[in-house]
Amino acid sequence: MSTETDTGTKDPSVTGTERLRSALGRFVWLQENPIPWVFPAIAVLLAFRLYPLVEVVRMSFTDMSLLSDSYSYVGIEQYLDVLSAPGFWTMARVTLIFVAISVIGQIVLGLILAMAIDYGVKKHIRGSVSTRIAVLSAWVIPGIVIGIIWQLMMIEAPYGVLNFFLTQLGFDVVAWLSDPQMALLSVITANTWRGTAFSMIMLYAGLQQVPQQLYAAAKIDGASAIQRFRHVTIPQIKPVVFINLVLITIYTLNTFDMIISLTGGGPGRATQVLALFMYFKGFQSFNLGEAAAIAVLMLLVNVVMTFVYMRFLIEEEGI
């Protein structure tokens, strides 16, 4: 449009159609360049993804606080302070336990479900679709709501439903959320409940890629079901398992919403994982600089995991 007014009004010898054609030509030429196509998305990406990353690193070297406008650079000392603070290593231990057990739980449960559904679909066993839907629906529920629902089930009085089942089976009432070790286990259980759907779907997709002739050949060679699983299934789905492992480790490490509504990080700091630890440092203790330093440590773990993932992706899928 702007080109038309630029050239058109000044030169009466150029006809309307020619003007239109030149404008269109320019428009078409512009279209042949990828930059206008990707520019808006990339600009937004730089503003909301890249800039904050650079900024969080910069902030981690300052004593920035929510309570004052001025700040100064404190340099690497920030990190030494963060790492030597008494709560840090407790948090690191809690996070490690939370991530490790949740990830193992999600992979094992996901694989069992994926294999059952794979078998069930092939043998036309009823309930395959319902089971898949049931598992997946857990994935759709907002993390905050998941925490609340599990909290309702984990009411510690005898009328809490999990305790009710336990007492029916002859066990004692369990302090699901007020005992520090139980609380961590409870958070891990809820997180496994939430994340298994994703593993199941990925591993199921992986199982579909295994050539069926391999199983037939193994059968002819007399391999038992367990041997077929060990020597055919496992090697064939290893890439998918690995990608899945990396992805759910990242997701689990960054968990915030479900834990804040289930335990709020408590009792004490028994379930305060990395994301909560960082957030509280920033928005409850108002210490933005220190929180940024913790965020950078979190970022490092994210980036290392991502590079592992990308290397693998490039090798396997040739991106």
């Binding site: 990353l53 319902s130 598992v135 905050i144 629902i149 009085a157 990925m202 899945n244 990242i250 940024a292």
Partner: protein, 287 residues
């Protein structure tokens, strides 16, 4: 003959054993994954005296919806649902507007550095928004966008660009390039080709991107928790969380609020299940 009958029998035993195991897994899986949801519903529809009764009734003696009426009348929950709906729809519209041309270009153009840019986008996608929540808070404060829906929508769009570009690009990649070449030879320019030829074919991809962005916006918590202050502006996730803090002992009301927060997503999921599955596998395996 002997071997045949033996292998025949063992196959039968195999079949039996594995079928039984599959049923067992299905049963346990169904119980473990459905029970929490059913429990929240059961809690919300029971009469008051059956909330803390011992022995506990797993299925209430009668169904009552009085607590839903209370929650709807005495809290802002409808407003929160409306806020979330508005934010989610605007986020989806914004994302599609930004990402469709970019995904087209990444699929159809060949240019230097394309692979590097795509990998950089993937890297951004993998880094959790939680990591950058503090600078994002400062950014919103500087632009005066704290405690506004516009600020939150902008944040959501910004955070969701990488995932959406990758996902939509993978759908463009599945459409044979001959299709748009034919249109180009017929005299369509790129924009016309995208609009008239490619968009209809890539619709399932657009649907998947829209659904995943909708679910993300509806469920997102950290950013809403950081940006929003005024309870009138809360999203449903924020609202339910504040509700939990406020009515900590009214289990029925909390259960009802949770059910209200998850029902729209569950209904959507049941209706559009196919899209969810393809989005999960495509989005994850391909980045």
């Amino acid at each position: 003959m002997a071997t045949q009958s033996r292998s025949g029998r063992s196959r039968f035993e195999d079949f039996d054993r594995y079928t039984a195991a599959t049923y067992a897994v299905y049963l346990l899986g169904l119980a473990f994954f459905i029970f929490p949801v059913l429990w929240a519903i059961s809690m919300s529809v029971r009469p008051r005296q059956e909330v803390i009764s011992v022995p506990l009734r797993v299925i209430p003696s009668e169904f009552t919806f009085e607590v839903y009426r209370n929650v709807l009348e005495n809290s802002d929950i409808l407003r929160w649902v409306w806020n979330s709906l508005k934010i989610a729809l605007l986020e989806v519209a914004g994302i599609l507007f930004l990402v469709t041309p970019a995904a087209y270009a990444f699929s159809r153009f060949r240019f230097k550095g394309k692979r590097a840019v795509l990998l950089a986008i993937l890297l951004f996608q993998m880094i959790s928004p939680v990591v950058i929540v503090i600078p994002l808070y400062n950014m919103m404060a500087q632009f005066g966008l704290l405690n506004t829906h516009i600020g939150l929508i902008a944040l959501y769009i910004g955070l969701q660009v990488p995932f959406s570009v990758w996902l939509l690009k993978s759908y463009f990649d599945t459409i044979p390039e001959d299709l748009d070449k034919a249109a180009r030879i017929d005299g369509c320019n790129r924009l016309q080709t995208l609009w008239h030829v490619l968009l209809p074919s890539v619709m399932p991809g657009i649907a998947v991107v829209s659904i995943f962005n909708f679910v993300f916006s509806w469920a997102e918590f950290v950013m809403a928790f950081t940006v929003l202050n005024d309870s009138k502006l809360f999203t449903i996730a924020m609202g339910v969380y504040s509700f939990q803090g406020q009515y900590s002992t009214d289990y029925r009301a909390i259960a009802a609020a949770s059910v209200i927060a998850m029902i729209p997503l569950l209904v959507m999921f049941l209706a559009l299940q196919r899209y969810f599955v393809s989005g999960l596998t495509d989005g994850a395996v391909k980045g």
